[in-house]
Each structure stands twice: as structure tokens, then as C-alpha cells.
């Protein structure tokens, strides 16, 4: 299914893009997170997911749908 992936902070640096729409094979947030963490380029960077602007807890598993907007958020640094 096609989803939009949004990247922030250090992830933009490493991946060279803010956003991409692409097909994924994973059907749950846990499976997608596991897949993303195995990506050599970003595997060393801590991040959490937000799906359609809702933060996903580490022990939470959410079913993904076509058209979801999935944000990868590295540690916050505001203030």
C-alpha cells in the first residue's frame, strides 16, 4: 500500500528529503518500525513514529492503511 513518510531533524540530513510517498509491505506500525530500524542509513538514529499526527507509543501496534501519513520524529530539541 502507498503511504507518505515524513522525515524530520537529523533524518532529513541523512536521507536528503523531507517527504516521500512510497509503497510499503508492512501492515502494522511495529513491523514498519522494525523495517525502518534495519535501514543502515537511519538505524543508528533514535526516532518515534506519529501516524496521521498521532504519536505511537513504543509498545503500541497500530494497523496501517492506504494513504496514512507516517512521521519519523527524532529526539526533540525545542526551547
Amino acid at each position: 500500500m502507498e503511504v507518505t513518510l515524513k522525515y524530520f531533524g537529523q533524518l532529513v540530513d541523512v536521507l536528503g528529503t523531507h517527504e516521500e510517498t512510497r509503497g510499503i509491505e508492512q501492515h502494522t506500525s511495529a513491523a514498519l518500525l522494525d523495517h525502518l530500524k534495519k535501514n543502515n542509513a537511519i538505524g543508528h538514529i533514535p526516532f518515534q513514529l506519529a501516524i496521521n499526527q498521532k504519536l505511537i507509543d513504543q509498545d503500541e501496534n497500530v494497523t496501517l492503511k492506504e494513504g496514512d501519513v507516517i512521521a519519523l520524529l527524532p529526539p526533540y530539541a525545542g526551547g
Binding site: K6, G9, A50, L73, P74, Y76, A77, G78, G79
Partner: protein, 142 residues
């Protein structure tokens, strides 16, 4: 939804105007202000020259709205304002402005500290620390 994000540094004029706008609210007896300033941290012999701030604005605005609602529940406030810079802010410039007003002083001290901590912890803002030699590292709140 109230506007929080400001492109560039927060000027002393902006802060002064924010104070002046409260002169008509005469039930207020105490204001408290927190200002965050970009610090020229030294890392491995290099100084931070600026921080470039970016954010996930849609999620940040949702989180800030929740923080604002929770602050009014938790503290007896008359009004509160939060502003945060985006873009490149040089060392010595102001990047974060929290302004809390109440009838008496006790509430504003507690509310300001709570708000500053909540914004730092829950708002998806990212900071790239740029050194004088144009190399950079990504800031992480401690």
C-alpha cells in the same frame, strides 16, 4: 489556534509589545516571563554559532494546544502566550518566549516552569547546532 512559531529570532520589541498589550487587562497583578537564549556551547573546542530550528508544525500546534488547555486547568491564570522561533537563530538571540499572567504571583512562577518543561518535552521541534566552522550536530534536550 494561537500562533506560536515565529520565523527568525524573537526581538526585544516583540517582547516589549507583548507586555504593553496587557495594560488593558487590569485584573492581572503578576506577569512572569521565561526567555530561552541560544547558548554558544563549546563542543570539542568549537563554539555553537547558531541553532537552526525546524518542527512538525501540524503536530506541534496540536501538542501546544493541549499544553495550553492543560495549563489553564492546572493553574489559575488570566492569560498565557508561548512563542518559539524557527529558522536560524544566532548565539545570544532569543528563540523561546513564555509569558504567563495571573492575579497574584504564586501561580505564575509554577505555571511558567511547568509550561517550559512541557513545551521542551512534548513539542516536535528539532535543532541543528551550527558551529563557527559550519559543521553541525543535532541538539537533544537533556
Amino acid at each position: 489556534m494561537k500562533k506560536v512559531f515565529i520565523e527568525g529570532p524573537i526581538s526585544s520589541e516583540f517582547i516589549g509589545d507583548a507586555i504593553a498589550k496587557h495594560q488593558s487587562k487590569t485584573s492581572i497583578g503578576a506577569h512572569n516571563i521565561f526567555l530561552g537564549q541560544v547558548r554558544a556551547d563549546a563542543v570539542d573546542g568549537k563554539n555553537v554559532a547558531a541553532i537552526e530550528y525546524t518542527c512538525y508544525e501540524e503536530l506541534a500546534n496540536t501538542k501546544l494546544h493541549e499544553i495550553r488547555e492543560a495549563a489553564f486547568e492546572k493553574f489559575d491564570l488570566i492569560c498565557m502566550h508561548i512563542y518559539h522561533s524557527l529558522g536560524t537563530i544566532k548565539a545570544g538571540e532569543i528563540c523561546f518566549f513564555v509569558f504567563v499572567s495571573a492575579v497574584r504571583r504564586k501561580e505564575v512562577y509554577a505555571a511558567t516552569e511547568w509550561l517550559v518543561n512541557q513545551v521542551k518535552e512534548h513539542t516536535p521541534i528539532f535543532g541543528k547546532e551550527i558551529f563557527e566552522d559550519e559543521t553541525h550536530q543535532w541538539k537533544v534536550n537533556s
